[in-house]
């Protein structure tokens, strides 16, 4: 009992510390990477390669005056930044980051809390994450903040649907809601979920980009339209909390996608070194998101909604239906059949989209094809 309590405490503190210390590094990495892709230099004055820049920024933000603009709704304005950060950190609690290790003759799960409804827990927390943006937008007493808050929350609610539907397919494949079990089932299937759930993976990738409010889906803080969206009126440390929340969320999402689709901590080849492969996969994901951000221009709001409701939701429903049918009919071969079927389905969806876009451009040449669709 005592051992378990101490172990849980140590794990919780460690995970918190590691995830939080990722944040400044990720900010530096993103600035450097995007600069490199845009043929700029990026931060290079503070420390070697500008590595100390995020620390300097953080210190600046923390010692800045805390401004309460007149006219803000004080309590809500105060609470909103916390509510955008806490769900992201709390969600990390159920993510397994390594196979169980033995310490002092006891087995310790490399996971803060091994709950048997881990997947549902994460979905529930991500539905609470909306409040940060909504309340910040409303309490700031600024029309651009309100617009940003409404946009962000509508976007997050819409994209929770395809996320949930794709995750259900994984649950069908695993037969359990525990994230540990998801990783173990991928080991026992001998194939990572990305293959039998290829379409689900693509859908989740796009949807989480929208859920994270990152470019090209950062409509809630589109600086060319609504100043900075829901955090326009925030400064100093409260602004830093929104910023940190965004990056913590990114780490959490990357870890979740790694667990759901990429075999969690398992090594693709070579020996299984604890944490190493997990970190490599997480960083691969984060780099992908940064690449996407540097590549695609921001979409229009109606394009965003159309992509979510007209493309991703039907596609994830099709994926779910196919998964369910093949699992029932395929028996022991279900995973192998799915691996083929899912890629076929993904190609099919892509072709249908391409045809639809071509048709639309032909009938209305003035309209640009919706970005992010197809391919």
């Amino acid at each position: 009992m005592l051992f378990d309590l101490i172990a849980s405490f140590i794990k919780a503190v460690l995970v918190f510390a590691v995830v939080m210390s990722f944040v400044p590094f990720l900010i530096w990495l993103e600035r450097k990477l995007v600069a490199w892709m845009q043929q700029r230099i990026g931060p290079n004055r503070t420390g070697p390669f500008g590595l100390l820049q995020p620390i300097a920024d953080a210190v600046k933000l923390i010692i800045k005056e805390n401004i309460f603009p007149s006219g803000v709704e004080k309590i809500t304005y105060f609470l909103a930044p916390m509510m955008s950060m806490i769900p992201a950190l709390a969600a990390f609690a159920v993510i397994p980051f390594g196979s169980p290790v033995r310490i002092m003759g006891r087995t310790v799960n490399l996971q803060v809390a091994d709950v048997n409804i881990g997947i549902l827990y994460i979905l529930a927390l991500s539905s609470l994450a909306v409040y940060g943006a909504v309340l910040a937008g409303w309490s700031s007493n600024n029309k651009y903040s309100l617009l940003g808050g409404l946009r962000t929350s509508a976007q997050m609610i819409s994209y929770e649907l395809p996320i949930g539907l794709s995750v259900v397919s994984i649950v069908l494949l695993t037969g359990s809601l525990s994230l540990n079990e998801v990783v173990r089932s991928q080991a026992s299937h001998g194939i990572w979920n990305i293959f039998p759930q290829f379409l689900g993976f693509i859908i989740l990738l796009i949807s989480y980009n929208a859920e994270l409010n990152r470019a090209p889906f950062d409509l809630g803080e589109a600086e060319s339209e609504i100043v900075a969206g829901y955090h326009t009126e925030y400064s100093g440390f409260r602004f830093a909390m929104f910023y940190m929340g965004e990056y913590v969320n990114m780490v959490t999402v990357a870890a979740l996608v790694t667990v759901l689709f990429l075999g969690g901590w398992q090594a693709p080849f070579g020996p299984e070194i604890p944490l190493l492969w997990f970190l490599i996969k997480i960083f691969a994901f984060i780099l992908l998101y940064m690449w996407v951000r540097a590549t695609f221009p921001r979409v229009r709001y109606d394009q965003l909604m159309a992509l979510g409701w007209k493309i991703l939701v039907p596609a994830s429903l099709a994926n779910l239906a196919m998964t369910a049918v093949i699992i029932v009919l395929g028996g022991p071969n279900a995973v192998r059949i799915l691996s083929v079927g899912s890629i076929v389905l993904a190609v099919l969806v892509g072709l249908v989209l391409k045809a639809a876009v071509a048709l639309r451009t032909k009938s209305a040449p003035g309209l640009a094809p919706p970005a992010g669709a197809g391919s």
Partner: protein
């Protein structure tokens, strides 16, 4: 341990429920309700009903209350506090009568509670995992479940019909004609 958790969590639930009633600001009230929902969800967890715990948070605290907040923000209820706080004639009397009835019912239940509460539950201990709920929902209660979804679908179609204005019908090529969707 369980008792202590129960006392703390139910205390939180009651306090925030009070906050919902007494707060003058509609958005504060909604936030109190969210907190209360989360506390009640924890009570479900104490009853080993994990699935209901998650659904309570995801559906009530997450989805429904966000939509409530949407409506409040779009209508800017805060500015019309006075209008909302206005009283209908005889409201106090009706409220007192209804409140008294509710209180009487509660007292009666507590007084006779021994008989009602001590009846053995019809579900086995530990019931409430996602498997249990799913099995119950999709075998024995399939018909009510399907009927509920049909009713919800009808309600949704009705909402679409009511919300549609003549000028807002989409153009043939699918371009949005009116304001933004949502």
């Amino acid at each position: 341990m369980t008792w202590l958790t129960f006392l703390i969590v139910s205390g939180i639930a009651v306090i925030f429920a009070g906050g919902l009633i007494f707060s003058r600001n509609a958005v504060h009230g909604a936030m109190c309700l969210v907190a209360s929902f989360c506390a009640i969800a924890t009570l479900f967890l104490l009853l080993s009903a994990e699935f209901i715990f998650v659904v309570q948070i995801a559906v009530y605290a997450g989805a429904i209350m966000v939509l409530f907040l949407f409506v409040m923000m779009l209508l800017n209820v805060q500015g019309q506090e006075g209008a909302l706080a206005g009283r209908a004639p005889g409201q106090l009397l009706v409220a007192l009568a209804l409140g008294a009835a509710l209180l009487g019912q509660a007292v009666w239940l507590v007084a006779r509670g021994g008989e009602i509460i001590s009846r053995p539950a019809r579900i086995p201990a530990g019931f409430g995992s996602p498997e249990d709920i799913g099995t119950a929902l999709f075998t024995r209660n399939l018909l009510p479940f399907e009927i509920t979804s049909l009713v919800l679908l009808a309600a949704m179609a009705g909402a679409v019909v009511l919300a549609r204005k003549a000028g807002l019908s989409p153009k043939p090529n699918g371009a949005p004609a009116g304001g933004k969707p949502e």
